[in-house]
């Protein structure tokens, strides 16, 4: 696991409170990558347009939309929508059994162009009592997600907001490929924000580090991605993904009000690690109902703590 920045971490900055876009000086980004010895990232950034030394926000946004589109292609190939629904459906059923207040609000944190939320709205079959919301700091990505949802008539909302401060609180927090962006104390702080009165569960999907992960990630990003930024960040994501132990420890420290476990780390009974693993957190009172609703898939759940 490496604490190395991805390009997309450094080319956009937002005020944490107002979500106002902050200018990013190209020289600062280049200096950061050069100092880290990442010449490839520096070359990619050096090709980005600048205005008065500042990366042009519109150009960065266009690039990020294209990159998210390419990422969606891999998510589709690897059936990520189905993967999320496989866990979310039994979780929502368990919440209904528990009589949790409706609507059941599923919030995708850092949704990008909203693939998961839009897929769930189109194909998830989650039920009329479920509200799907995608949130991201980047307004351009949120706007694109909303445009795509509208063009297909999907019942999903997208907000440019910090989800942990929404007036309408989440029932379930969801992320895909997001949590490895939080490092050290920030990861614990991220989980601390899950401790909200109405929040009942979280599902965080991310790359599972393994010996094979860097090669596998390189291969798929080489053959499936076109944007150099997508290739660079995609491979680095797999390299610096958190181990299950790191995620569990951070979750247990940050959000002790949840029972947490890792789901689906191995391929059946084979000693083959999956590309993705899932950190599952449920309120203790929900755990038994959730495991029951999971049915045979409960075998894939690691030990709760």
């Amino acid at each position: 696991m490496r604490d190395e920045d991805e390009i997309s971490d450094l080319i956009v900055r937002f005020d944490a409170v107002t979500l106002q876009r902050l200018p990013v000086r190209k020289h600062d980004v280049l200096t950061a990558f050069t100092a880290a010895g990442n010449e490839r990232a520096a070359r990619i950034v050096s090709a980005m347009p600048e205005r008065d030394g500042v990366l042009v926000p519109e150009a960065v946004d266009r690039l990020l939309v294209r990159v998210h589109c390419e990422m969606q292609r891999i998510s589709e190939e690897f059936q990520h929508g189905h993967r999320v629904a496989e866990l979310l459906r039994p979780l929502l059923e368990a919440l209904r059994v528990q009589g949790v207040e409706r609507p059941l609000r599923v919030v995708d944190v850092g949704c990008g162009t909203g693939f998961v939320v839009r897929w769930l709205a189109a194909r998830g079959g989650l039920g009329a009592d479920v509200e799907l919301i995608g949130a991201d700091y980047n307004r351009a990505l949120v706007d694109e997600a909303a445009r795509l949802a509208a063009s297909e008539g999907l019942a999903a909302q997208f907000v440019n907001a910090n989800v942990f401060t929404l007036t309408e609180p989440a029932t379930v927090f969801l992320t895909t490929g997001v949590i490895h962006h939080f490092r050290g104390p920030d990861l614990v702080e991220f989980f601390r924000q899950h401790e909200q009165p109405r929040a009942a569960a979280f599902l965080h999907f991310d790359f599972q580090p393994s010996v094979l992960a860097p090669f596998g990630s390189w291969l798929f990003h080489a053959v499936r991605m076109r944007e150099p930024l997508a290739r660079h960040d995609g491979v680095l994501s797999a390299v610096r993904a958190h181990t299950a132990a790191t995620l569990l420890e951070a979750a247990r420290r940050g959000s002790p009000g949840y029972s947490t476990a890792m789901y689906s780390t191995r391929l059946g009974f084979l000693p083959i690690p999956r590309s993705f693993h899932t950190l599952v957190g449920v309120r203790p009172g929900l755990r038994a109902a959730f495991m029951e609703k999971l049915g045979q898939r409960a075998d894939r759940m690691g030990p709760f703590a």
Partner: protein, 194 residues
């Protein structure tokens, strides 16, 4: 004739998949069946152009030869060698497609991990190996030159098919209007890059 038909079928299917790959990752909609069907059809049709060009060159090779029968035998032998390399590759892809029909997230993901991803990476090498063996065995410079031209077409097909999606050559909103298959990537919600 069966060798020529088999190569024709392989070339058409390969071009269709080039069309698919050229379109993939450029539309962020969820429902993309028609988008991909059109992309594959476009690939297959452009594949016919490439096949026609190759067939024309090969016909000229045979007709211009002082020994047409021998030239035809050379072609047949070269085609057989290409099939010996290409058919196992195509067979593996076919088996993976059959497996992908199983409605299991794990099985489908495995087909990508074990077959579709690696085989996409290997495709240029397989193409070169088949053509290279055919050319080397024929020991005919003219046939070699035609083979290299055909190989260049095979390897550039995906890039050429992808040209329509670049910049202003592609109007995602017009495509959306035709069957609701809009494209998200080149910034239909953002100012166009010029």
């Amino acid at each position: 004739m069966s060798v020529a038909l088999a190569l024709y079928a392989l070339a058409t299917v390969d071009a269709a998949f080039c069309g698919y790959r050229a379109a993939a990752g450029r539309s962020a909609l969820i429902a993309k069946r028609h988008y991909y069907q059109r992309a594959m059809l476009r690939g297959a049709l452009w594949g016919q152009v490439a096949v026609a060009a190759a067939a024309g060159a090969l016909l000229a090779f045979v007709l211009s030869s002082s020994e047409p029968t021998e030239a035809w035998h050379k072609l047949y032998a070269a085609g057989r060698r290409m099939l010996i390399v290409y058919l196992p590759y195509a067979g593996l892809i076919l088996v993976a497609f059959a497996a992908r029909a199983v409605p299991s997230v794990d099985v489908r993901s495995l087909t990508s991990t074990l077959v579709f991803g690696p085989m996409t990476l290997l495709r240029p090498f397989v193409a070169v190996a088949g053509m290279g063996w055919a050319i080397a065995s024929s020991q005919d410079p003219l046939l070699g030159a035609i083979g290299i031209g055909v190989l260049a077409l095979m390897l550039s097909m995906e890039t050429l098919l992808g040209l329509r999606y670049r910049g202003s050559a592609w109007d995602p909103e017009a495509e959306a209007a035709s069957d609701r298959c809009a494209a998200g990537a080149p910034g239909s919600g953002l100012p166009r890059e010029r």
